[in-house]
C-alpha cells in the first residue's frame, strides 16, 4: 500500500459536548484509500458523516470535534499528528477543497484576480503582479471567456456556474495532488452542472489530480468516479469499484439506495423506499446501525455490529451477509436468527 496517495486507517472523529456527556460518532473507524489520479466518490445522506470526513482529512474540524483514532497517510506522511503550521502548508497547496456554495466561498470585497492569486502568493511567495498574471491563465483554464476582463471583476458580476469555476481555479492554483469536492454542483442547473463535471474531468486528466467527490447524488458517482464508498451513520458500510458496486451491491443499504432512485430507462410503478430514519449518531444502536431499517436483518444484527468484511480485493462491506461463512442469501439467515433467539 506504499504507493497509495491517500490512505485512511481506522480514522474516527467524534464531536463531544462541553460536559463530555454526549458523544457524536460522526466518523467511526473509516478505512479508505486512493491512488494518484483516481476518483473516489463518498456517498451518504445528511448526517452520515461524509462532510466531517472531508474536514477530518484536512484537519479543519470545528473545536468541538477531534480525531480520536487512526492514521491519515498522505504521500507517506501521517496528517493526524502534523503540527498546525505544517498542516497549513498542505492545505491549498497539496490538498485543495471545493465547497458547495460558491457565493459563500468567495469574498465579495476582493477581485477575482486577488482571490485566484492568493494561494500562489501564500504558498509560493509569488509577487502581486505575477500572481495576477497566473490568475489570468487559471481563469482561462477553467474555460471562462475573456479572462483579461474577468480577472478584475468581483464575484457578484458573475453567474453561479462561473463562480463555481472560479472556486475550481482557486483550488487548482497550486497544482494540488488531491482535490476534495463537497457537493460541488448542487446549486447549479443541469446543463451547467454537466459543463462543470466535464471541466473537472479535464483538469484531472491534464494535472494527474486525484479527486474525492462528496455527494448524496448517486448519478454524479456513476458519471465521475472510479471508486465508491457508501457511508451510513458515520461508517463506511460498503466500498469498491463503482461499476461493481452499482451492478452487485453487497450491503442492503446500498441496494436500497440504488433501488430508490427513479430511472429514465425503465418503467416502475413503485420505487424501493427505505422505511424509517437514520439513527441518532449520539445514541447509536448496539448492533448494526442499519438493522432497524434493513429488510434482511436477523437476530445477530441487533446485538453485534458487523466488522468490515473484505469480499474480494478492494471490495468490502460491513454486513453479516457479506461474511465469508454466510452467503448472501436470506434463506440461510433464517436458521441463524432462530438459533440466536433460542
Amino acid at each position: 500500500m506504499a504507493n497509495k496517495l491517500l490512505s485512511l486507517e481506522n480514522v474516527s472523529a467524534h464531536y463531544v459536548s462541553q460536559q463530555g456527556t454526549r458523544v457524536v460518532r460522526a466518523v467511526d473507524e473509516v478505512t479508505l484509500s486512493l491512488d494518484a489520479g483516481e476518483t473516489l466518490g463518498i456517498v451518504g445522506e445528511s448526517g452520515s458523516g461524509k462532510s466531517t470526513l472531508a474536514l477530518t482529512i484536512l484537519r479543519l474540524l470545528p473545536k468541538a470535534a477531534r480525531i480520536v483514532g487512526g492514521r491519515i497517510m498522505f504521500e507517506g506522511e501521517d496528517l493526524v499528528d502534523k503540527p498546525a503550521a505544517e498542516m497549513r502548508r498542505v492545505r491549498g497547496k497539496r490538498i485543495a477543497m471545493i465547497l458547495q456554495d460558491p457565493m459563500a466561498s468567495l469574498n465579495p470585497l476582493f477581485t477575482i484576480g486577488d482571490q485566484v492569486g492568493e494561494p500562489l502568493r501564500v504558498h509560493e511567495g509569488a509577487s502581486r503582479s505575477s500572481a495576477w498574471q497566473r490568475a489570468i491563465d487559471l481563469i482561462k483554464s477553467v474555460r471562462i471567456a475573456s479572462p483579461q476582463t474577468r480577472v478584475a471583476q468581483f464575484p457578484h458580476e458573475m453567474s453561479g456556474g462561473m463562480r463555481q469555476r472560479i472556486v475550481g481555479a482557486i483550488g487548482m492554483s497550486c497544482e494540488p495532488r488531491l482535490l476534495i469536492a463537497d457537493e460541488p454542483t448542487t446549486s447549479l442547473d443541469l446543463t451547467i452542472q454537466a459543463q462543470y463535471l466535464d471541466l473537472l474531468r479535464e483538469l484531472q486528466r491534464t494535472h494527474g489530480l486525484a479527486l474525492i467527490f462528496i455527494t448524496h447524488n448517486l448519478g454524479i458517482v456513476a458519471k465521475m468516479c472510479d471508486q465508491l464508498a457508501v457511508m451510513y451513520a458515520g461508517r463506511v458500510v460498503e466500498q469498491g469499484p463503482v461499476s461493481r458496486v452499482f451492478s452487485q451491491p453487497l450491503h442492503p443499504y446500498t441496494k436500497a439506495l440504488l433501488g430508490s432512485i427513479p430511472r429514465m430507462t425503465e418503467e416502475r410503478e413503485q420505487l424501493t423506499a427505505i422505511d424509517g430514519q437514520p439513527p441518532d449518531l449520539a445514541n447509536l444502536p448496539a448492533g448494526c446501525s442499519f438493522a432497524a431499517r434493513c429488510p434482511a436483518a436477523f437476530a445477530r444484527c441487533q446485538v453485534e455490529a458487523p466488522p468490515d468484511f473484505t469480499v474480494e480485493p478492494g471490495r468490502s462491506a460491513r454486513c453479516w451477509l457479506a461474511a465469508p461463512t454466510v452467503h448472501a442469501s436470506i434463506d440461510q439467515t433464517i436458521p441463524l436468527s432462530r438459533s440466536a433467539a433460542s
Binding site: L190, T191, A222, K223, L271
Partner: protein, 320 residues
C-alpha cells in the same frame, strides 16, 4: 380523456427597471404564450433550468399571479370570468406542496392546527369534525395519530413533507401543484414521498402539476412533460417517449446532461456550452439559437412555433 385544467396562450410579463434611476423599462417575459393541459388523474411534469418560467407557471395556476395574457380554464370555465364564490371554489380545488418543508410549516403551530387551517378558514366545520378529518389525513399520508398534537420541529424532513401533503389534501382538491417536492429531502426519503404521491393520485384521482429539476423523477412521476426554455415551451408530449427520444435540440441537451443511473450508461455526448441568457434581453428568433448546435440563419430571425411532430409538440425549424 378530459382535461381538468387547460392553459391557452398563457403569458406573464414583469416590468423591470434598468439602472439605478429607472430610465428605460425592460420587460421580462417570464411566461410567454404557453399552452398546456392537465388531464384528470394525470401528472403534467414541467422541466427546465432556472429562469425558464416554471415557477411563474405554478404561481399562475395557483392564482397567485394574474396572467398578462391568455387564459386558464378550469373544468371548462375561464378563470377570468369566475365570480367571487367561483374563484373561492377554484382556490380550494387547487393546492400546493412546496420544496422546503422546514420553511412551509409554521413552527409555532401544532400539526393538527397546520393541517386544519385551510379547512377552518374556508369552510364552516365544527371542531370534532375538524379533528376527525385531521386524523383521517394523517392516516392517509402514513403518520401516526399522536402526530396531531406535536410541533413541526419534532419531525424529520420526510415526515414534514407528509404533513405538507396532508394540509394540501384537507380541502379535497382536484389539482395539486408540486414544486420540487423532494429536492430538499434525503435520497432514501425521496422514494417514500414519490411513492406516497403516486398512491394518493390513484386513490383520490388527483391531478398533479409536477415541477422538478431531477429529470428522472419527473419522467417517473409524469404522464406528460413540457420542456420550457426562457418562458416558452420548446417541446411537450408523452413522458416516456419524450424522455427516451427527445427531439428539440434543447431537450436533447438537457436529457444528455442528466446524470446516468449506472456507470455503464455514461454518455459521451458533447455537453451543451454557454449559459441561459438573461431573460431581460432574450436572443432574437428562437431563444435557444446561440447555444444550439443546429442553428441556421433562419433561427436567429424567426421564432419557431410549436408544431405536431410524431404525436408530440416541438418548436424547432428542424422539424418543419
Amino acid at each position: 380523456m378530459t382535461a381538468v385544467m387547460e392553459a391557452k396562450g398563457l403569458s406573464k410579463h414583469f416590468q423591470a427597471r434598468r439602472g439605478l434611476f429607472g430610465g428605460s423599462r425592460g420587460v421580462v417575459r417570464a411566461v410567454d404564450e404557453i399552452s398546456f393541459a392537465i388531464e384528470t388523474g394525470h401528472t403534467l411534469g414541467v422541466v427546465g433550468e432556472s429562469g425558464c418560467g416554471k415557477t411563474t407557471t405554478a404561481k399562475l395556476v395557483l392564482g397567485l399571479e394574474t396572467p398578462s395574457g391568455g387564459s386558464i380554464q378550469f373544468e371548462g370555465r375561464d378563470l377570468e370570468t369566475l365570480d367571487t364564490p367561483g374563484r373561492r371554489r377554484y382556490r380550494k380545488s387547487v393546492q400546493a406542496v412546496f420544496q422546503d418543508p422546514y420553511a412551509s410549516l409554521n413552527p409555532r403551530m401544532r400539526i393538527s392546527a397546520i393541517i386544519a387551517e385551510p379547512l377552518v378558514t374556508n369552510e364552516k366545520t365544527v371542531a370534532p369534525e375538524v379533528r376527525h378529518r385531521v386524523l383521517e389525513l394523517l392516516d392517509l399520508v402514513g403518520l401516526p395519530e399522536r402526530s396531531a398534537d406535536l410541533f413541526p420541529h419534532e419531525f424529520s424532513g420526510g415526515q414534514r413533507q407528509r404533513i405538507a401533503i396532508a394540509r394540501a389534501l384537507v380541502l379535497s382538491p382536484q389539482v395539486i401543484v408540486l414544486d420540487e417536492p423532494v429536492s430538499a429531502l434525503d435520497v432514501s426519503i425521496r422514494a417514500q414521498i414519490l411513492n406516497l404521491l403516486r398512491s394518493l393520485q390513484t386513490r383520490l384521482g388527483l391531478s398533479y402539476l409536477f415541477i422538478a429539476h431531477d429529470l428522472a423523477a419527473v419522467a417517473h412521476m409524469s404522464h406528460e412533460i413540457v420542456v420550457m426554455y426562457l418562458g416558452k415551451i420548446v417541446e411537450s408530449g408523452e413522458a416516456r417517449a419524450l424522455a427516451l427520444s427527445p427531439k428539440h435540440p434543447y431537450t436533447k441537451a438537457l436529457f444528455a446532461a442528466a446524470l446516468p443511473s449506472h456507470p455503464d450508461e455514461r454518455s459521451d455526448e458533447p455537453v451543451l456550452q454557454g449559459e441561459v441568457p438573461s431573460p431581460l434581453s432574450p436572443p432574437s428568433g428562437c431563444h435557444f439559437h446561440p447555444r444550439c448546435p443546429h442553428a441556421t440563419a433562419r433561427c436567429a430571425q424567426e421564432a419557431p412555433r410549436l408544431r405536431p411532430v410524431e404525436g408530440r409538440q416541438v418548436a424547432c425549424h428542424l422539424f418543419e
